[in-house]
C-alpha cells in the first residue's frame, strides 16, 4: 500500500485526481483556443466568401461560395493601397530608427562608469509616470510644424522607455570580459557598440523590434489626431477604423459608403457589401503581424520577463 502510494506520488502512475484534473484542464484549454481564434477565423471565412451570399448569414469557419473578389475590390481602392504604403513605411522606418536610437542610449546607460548613468536613466523613467497629456502634446506637434507630415509618426516615439530598460538590462548582462578585452585592443565606445554589443544583442533587438513594429503597424490614433485632414498619409488601421465607425453609425450602409468617397466607380463585376469589406480589411490589417509573431515568441517571452524583473 505504502509502496504504491509512493510510486504514484512520484508520478509513475497517475492518480484518479490527475486524470480528472487533466481532462478538465485540457478541455478548458481547447475551449480557450477556440474562443481566441474563432472571431478571427470567422472574419477570414467571410472575407473569402461571395459578398451577397455572406449577407444571408450563417458563415462560421468555412466559406460557402469561395471567391477572392473581396480582396480584389479592396486592393483596387486607391485609399487602401495608399494606406498600406504608409503603414509599411512607418513600420519599417519607425522600427529602424527606434532600434538604433534605443540601443545607443541603452548602451551608454549600461556602462557602469558613465558619469550621467543615473541621471539619464531617471529622466527617461520619469516620463513613464508624467506626461503632458493629449492637448499639450498636440499643441507641441503644431508648434514644431509636424502636423500634416509623415514625421509625426516617427519623431515622437523614437525611444520607448520600457524598451530602453529591456535593452539596458540585456546589455548589462553581457559578460564584462568582452568589453575589457576590446578596450585593451583599443576599441572606443562606438566601435564596441557597433562591432560587439549590437551583434551580441540580437535576441533583445528582435524583441524590441517586434514591440515597435507592432506598435507602428497598429497605430491609428496619431493619424486621427494629426493627419486626418491629409488623405495621403492615413494608415491601414485608420481606414479600417473609419469603416468600423461607419458601420456603427449606419448598420444599413451600402458598399459604396463603406469607403468614404469611393463613389460609383466600383467595378460592377465585384459586388461587395460593407460586411465583406470590413472582414477583408480586418484580415489585411492583421495578417502581417500574425505571420511574424509566432517566430519571435522565444525572444519576446524572454524580453517581457527581463523588462518586468528590473
Amino acid at each position: 500500500m505504502s509502496k504504491e502510494k509512493l510510486r504514484s506520488g512520484i508520478g509513475i502512475r497517475r492518480t484518479r485526481e490527475d486524470v480528472i484534473f487533466d481532462s478538465i484542464n485540457y478541455s478548458f484549454m481547447v475551449l480557450l483556443c477556440i474562443v481566441m481564434l474563432y472571431p478571427f477565423i470567422n472574419q477570414f471565412a467571410v472575407s473569402i466568401n461571395e459578398a451577397n451570399d455572406s449577407i444571408k448569414g450563417g458563415i462560421y469557419l468555412l466559406p460557402r461560395e469561395f471567391t477572392w473578389n473581396n480582396y480584389a475590390f479592396v486592393f483596387q481602392e486607391a485609399s487602401v493601397v495608399q494606406s498600406i504604403v504608409i503603414s509599411v513605411l512607418r513600420t519599417v522606418v519607425g522600427t529602424a530608427v527606434s532600434l538604433f536610437c534605443t540601443a545607443m542610449v541603452a548602451y551608454a546607460i549600461a556602462q557602469p562608469n558613465f558619469m550621467f548613468k543615473k541621471s539619464v536613466t531617471i529622466i527617461f523613467v520619469m516620463t513613464m509616470y508624467f506626461n503632458g497629456g493629449l492637448i499639450p502634446t498636440f499643441l507641441l506637434m503644431r508648434d514644431l510644424q509636424l502636423i500634416g507630415t509623415f514625421w509625426v509618426y516617427i519623431l515622437p516615439g523614437i525611444i520607448g522607455v520600457f524598451n530602453l530598460i529591456v535593452m539596458r538590462s540585456f546589455i548589462e548582462g553581457l559578460p564584462i570580459s568582452i568589453f575589457e578585452s576590446a578596450k585593451i585592443d583599443g576599441a572606443g565606445h562606438f566601435t564596441m557598440f557597433f562591432r560587439i554589443v549590437l551583434p551580441l544583442s540580437l535576441p533583445v533587438i528582435a524583441t524590441v523590434a517586434l514591440f515597435v513594429a507592432v506598435f507602428q503597424w497598429n497605430q491609428w490614433f496619431d493619424v486621427f489626431l494629426y493627419n486626418s485632414s491629409n488623405p495621403t498619409l492615413t494608415t491601414l488601421q485608420y481606414e479600417l477604423m473609419k469603416i468600423l465607425q461607419n458601420s456603427n453609425a449606419n448598420m444599413s450602409a451600402t458598399a459604396a459608403s463603406a469607403f468614404a468617397g469611393s463613389g460609383s466607380e466600383s467595378n460592377s463585376a465585384n459586388m461587395v457589401s460593407p460586411t465583406s469589406i470590413r472582414a477583408t480589411m480586418t484580415i489585411v490589417a492583421s495578417v502581417p503581424i500574425i505571420m511574424v509573431y509566432p517566430f519571435l515568441q522565444k525572444y519576446f517571452v524572454k524580453g517581457m520577463t527581463l523588462g518586468a524583473v528590473k
Binding site: L32, A108, L240, S286
Partner: protein, 322 residues
Amino acid sequence: MATPSINSVKTTPVPVPETKFKKFMKQCSEQKALLFMTIPFVIWLIIFKYVPIWGWTMAFQDFKPARSFSEQEWVGFKHFQFLFTDERFLGVLRNTLAMSMINLVLGFVTAIGLAVLINEIANMGFKRIVQTISYMPHFLSWVVAASLVSVTLSADGIINEILATLGLADEPILFLGIGEMFWGILGAAETWKNVGWNAIIYLAAISMIDQEQYEAAKIDGASRLQRIRHITIPGMRSVIVILLIMNIGYILESGFEPQYLLGNPMNVQFSENIDVFVIKYGISMFNFSLATAAGIFKTVVSFVFLIAANSFAKKMGEGGLF
C-alpha cells in the same frame, strides 16, 4: 569653481590644482563618446516629453491658441471647479474608475489562473500551441479587436446564435446598444485580448519555483490542487505584488481605444471615460483648457496612488518598486 584657492591649499603637491570643474571637464572629454550617444536623445526627450508638461499651465488659463503665453487670461481653478460640479464629468469619473477596477481585478485573476493551468499541462507540444494561440489577440490592433468584438456581438453574431440555439433569447440582443452591459463587454474584450500576454510573466515566475518542492509535496501526499494552492501561488507572490503596485498607479488609465471604438450614442453614459472626454472636449470642441485640466487630474491621482501603493507594499515587507 568659486573657491579654487582653498582647494589648491588643501590638496597636497599637485602640479596643476584640479578644481571640481576641471575634473568634470576631464571626465567629459574621457567619456566624449558616451556623451555623444546620449545628449541628442536627452534633448529629444526634453522637447517631446518635458516641454508638454509646461502645457499644464493651460488648465489655469482661458487658453486661446492664437494668443501668446503672456497674453493668456489666468483663471485659477475655474476649470477644475467646473469639472467637479459637472454631472457629465462625474459620470465620466465613475465610468473610468469602474472600468479600470474591473480590468484590474479581471486582468489579475484571469492571467494568474491561466498561468497556473498552462503550467499544469504536461504535454510540451500542446502547451506551446496553447501559449502561441493565447498571445495572438494581444498583437492585433484595438481597431481590429473592436471590429471583431462588434461582429461577435452583433444581431447575427455568434453569441446571439448560441443564445438562440439554447433557447435563452427570443430575439437578438444588441449588446453594444445596452449601456449597462458596456463595462462587462469591455472587461471581457480586455481579457480576451490580453490574458495570454499577461500570463507570460506569471509563467516565468512559476518556472523559478524549485521543482524539489513539488516532489516533496507529492511524497507527502499533497493533491494536485493542494500543490497549486500551497506551492505555485505562493511562488508568484512577489511578482503579483510588484505588478499590483504598477497597475494601481494606472488606476485612472482604463485605456481609451476600446471605449472610443466601441462607444456609441446608446452606451455613451457608460462608455465615456476621462480619456474619451479629453478627446471630445479638447480635439473636437477645442476646449483645450478644460481637457487639459481633466488630463492633469488623471495624472496626479495616478501618481498619488502609485506612491501610496508602493509605500504600503514596503510596509507589508514586500519591497516596493522604488
